[in-house]
């Protein structure tokens, strides 16, 4: 079945009306992921955008057709680990899934996630990374890019400031837990995302992790029409490469032989408006260095000629 057929025929598991911003590509990502996962799913939505817009519902009503709940900001993975154990005790099988922002994943939720990954708890953990705490007005996270304006890394009138550190390479950190499946994904590459969710569902033992890079329209200063175009540029500039790994065997899933300059990506985003050429060049250098590292891993993993590539 093609990704299009899957998405055209499967039932949407999320309420048709949630209060995500106009054009939000996280809403797109969530609906896509849940269509692939299907109704036999228990869904964790920790505090963050998707919780805030009503995916867990309001008062006595739900925001999803599947069982859904709010974990705490920092315990999505451990609550899901418990749900898996409870299902095992009852002899039941279901997809046990987190759909969590970067705050709930790379910051406050990291300990629980790393613990679950090491123990091999059978859960699917999906991080939608929009580079910060967006539903509270965009405060920095450890996934925020270097130089980025956030409400807690402000920019002076002269244009200095922004976040001093670059984002940690979280999907690689997860891959170094030797997981059965780790992947990065983008809302601009939906067929690639669909395939990756399907692969995560095929995992028999252990934790599957998918890290999705979601440019935030409201927080980053992007027109809604450009939601997907900017996401595509993040991949085409090699700023956020798309790959998957089984254990340490990593391979690119979208190859970018002729990247566009990082400047072409950065220049279209409001939160980077204050960056001068030198600071953009710095982002280009970081991007190149990280990409070379991945290329080396991709070569070790068999590269484009590897079976299954």
């Amino acid at each position: 079945m093609t990704a299009l057929d899957t998405l055209a025929t499967r039932e949407d598991q999320i309420s048709p009306g949630i209060s995500a911003c106009v054009g939000c590509n996280v809403e797109l990502t969530l609906r896509t992921v849940l269509k692939v996962l299907g109704p036999n799913t228990i869904l964790a939505i920790p505090p963050g955008c998707m919780g805030g817009v009503g995916v867990v519902g309001w008062d006595k009503m739900s925001g999803a057709k599947v069982p859904v709940f709010f974990p705490l900001l920092d315990n999505s993975a451990s609550m899901l680990a418990g749900i898996r154990l409870g299902l095992k005790a009852r002899g039941r099988e279901a997809n046990v899934v987190a759909f969590a922002g970067d705050g709930a994943t790379v910051d406050a939720g990291f300990q629980a996630l790393s613990g679950a990954a090491e123990r091999g708890d059978k859960i699917i953990y999906i991080c939608y990374d929009n580079e910060g705490y967006m539903n509270t007005g965009y405060q920095r996270s450890s996934s925020t890019s270097k130089g980025s304006w956030t409400s807690t890394t402000p920019v002076s009138k002269e244009g200095s400031g922004g976040k001093p550190q670059h984002r940690k390479d979280f999907p690689l950190i997860m891959a170094m837990h030797d997981l059965p499946y780790v992947a990065t994904a983008s809302p601009a590459y939906i067929p690639d995302l669909v395939k990756k969710v399907e692969r995560a569902m095929e995992v028999k033992e252990g934790l599957a992790y998918i890290h999705i890079y979601n440019p935030c329209l409201t927080g980053w200063g992007i027109k809604s029409d450009d939601s997907i175009a900017i996401s595509r540029l993040s991949v085409q500039s090699r700023f956020f490469p798309l790959w998957e790994a089984h254990g340490r065997r990593l391979q690119f899933t979208v190859r970018v032989p002729k990247p566009v300059p990082v400047a072409d990506y950065v220049r279209r985003i409001g939160k980077f408006r204050h960056l001068d050429e030198a600071r953009i060049a710095e982002l280009q250098a970081i991007t190149d260095e990280r990409y070379s590292f991945l290329e080396a891993m991709d070569r070790m993993g068999g590269g484009a000629n590897a079976p299954g590539a």
């Binding site: 055209a8 949630i18 054009g23 590509n25 809604s224 939601s227 997907i228």
Partner: protein
């Protein structure tokens, strides 16, 4: 399950009528449409459906008017028009 809950539980789907937010409306030209389905795959609110005849149509009840479908359509078959303009 009893309906008198002792703990914080929700049942039944709560849906915000997000179609009311729209300031622009997507209009699809079926003649230009190449039936590629990209609009369906990238519509954030899942407002686009595929009919039995393989034709695509946009439901306006929840469409927020973001313009992603128009921007992504490779055939330029979707135009965004101001709401209220006839």
């Amino acid at each position: 399950m009893s309906k008198e809950y002792i703990g914080p539980v929700g049942e039944g789907l709560y849906a915000v009528r997000t179609g009311d937010w729209r300031t622009r409306r997507p209009l699809m030209d079926q003649k230009t449409c190449r039936r590629c389905g990209i609009c369906l795959m990238y519509c954030p609110v899942n407002a686009i459906s595929r009919g039995a005849d393989e034709a695509y149509s946009i439901g306006l009840e929840y469409c927020k008017g973001c313009g992603v479908c128009a921007a992504e359509c490779p055939a330029k078959a979707i135009a965004m028009e101001k709401e209220g303009a006839k």
